[in-house]
């Protein structure tokens, strides 16, 4: 799937569902089958990173990386590093929002 197909809404949804971090991986610049898909992705992710950071969700929880289909080792390395990074950031603050429907704290 083209990285331009990763709608910002999907990323927002992932965070809402409790993801501690979101990694978007796309083809290298210049390699786009659709010519400019990854240019679109880079701008979208950049704007969204700014925005979540302003809302208090670290921008480091959202990562865009270029990984070609043949770069299995890079994929593994990036995934490992990102996992470590996110682990160091701790759980997403979205999980501690008091309005969440099933918050156990609300149960009397």
């Amino acid at each position: 799937m083209c990285s331009a197909r990763v709608s910002p809404h999907f990323i927002i949804r992932a965070f809402q569902e409790g993801a501690d971090g979101v990694l978007v991986a796309g083809c290298h610049i210049g390699d786009c089958h659709y010519l400019k898909g990854n240019y679109i992705a880079i701008k979208r992710v950049a704007i969204l990173r700014d925005l979540i950071d302003f809302l208090g969700i670290s921008k480091e929880r959202l990562l865009l990386e270029w990984i070609a289909g043949s770069e299995g080792d890079k994929y593994a390395r990036v995934a490992d590093e990102f996992t470590e990074k996110v682990r160091s950031l701790g759980p997403s603050p979205i999980k501690r929002i008091p309005f969440r429907e099933k918050a156990v704290a609300m149960v009397r």
Binding site: I12, Q16, I40, K43, A46, L55, G56
Partner: protein, 266 residues
Amino acid sequence: MEALKNKVNELLESGGIAGFLGLRNFGSEPFPFLFTRDTAAEVEKITTGAVRYPLSKILIRIAAVYPDAIFGIMCRACDERAIIELFKNTKLRSDKVITIGISCTDDLVQACKCENPQPSNLVSGEAGKKEFDRSDVQKIASMTLEQRFDFWTEQLGKCIKCYGCRNICPVCFCDVCTLEDQPLVKRGEIPPELPSFHLTRAYHMAGRCVDCGLCEEACPVDIPLRTLYRRVRESVKELLDYLPGEERDKVPPIQVLGDGLFEIRD
């Protein structure tokens, strides 16, 4: 005010416009009204008022019914910024709209923290001073991540999901609204899912928001929405070098940022 009345009468009489969308005193209060040749007597009640209604958004609706007519519209600087974006997004046609600029009172400029209260084609009043005040954005940006998160959770948590921010927004012109997209945004409860409802709307303001502040005025629970969208506006300027409403000749980056065009829904 006399200058405005004269201008409207002149345009109506000459046939230069089919109608002028502005504010009319209804009893003691101003409300939007379309002055036409048939209702020329009402021009006497024209007012610039101290209130702002989303005139450009109203004009989209009227122009959709009368696509060939030319309309005049009362334009504060914020209205004009919106109209520039509406031209670019083909919601209004630049050859069918004549803007009649009016100035805002100093009080209104202050209250709006308007960064550019100077419309072109000024017919009534004097242009206000430019005052660029981003202290609201800076105040939040200077907090720690955790403080910011708590601040926004408290603010956005007040939301009673009236959709007023969207409904009044002059640049919210999509036929299908993502905020009503059930799988993406859960419906039927208040506050709406935090923060995704407002995050989604804020993202959609990228490349569109003209910083008019009508959203914040319409918010029944005083959420500082404008501050949120101002930050988005700044990001777009920094990253894409585009300032909505201020750049008549640049192509808007809206498709890059993603509107309906890039969504696949199921």
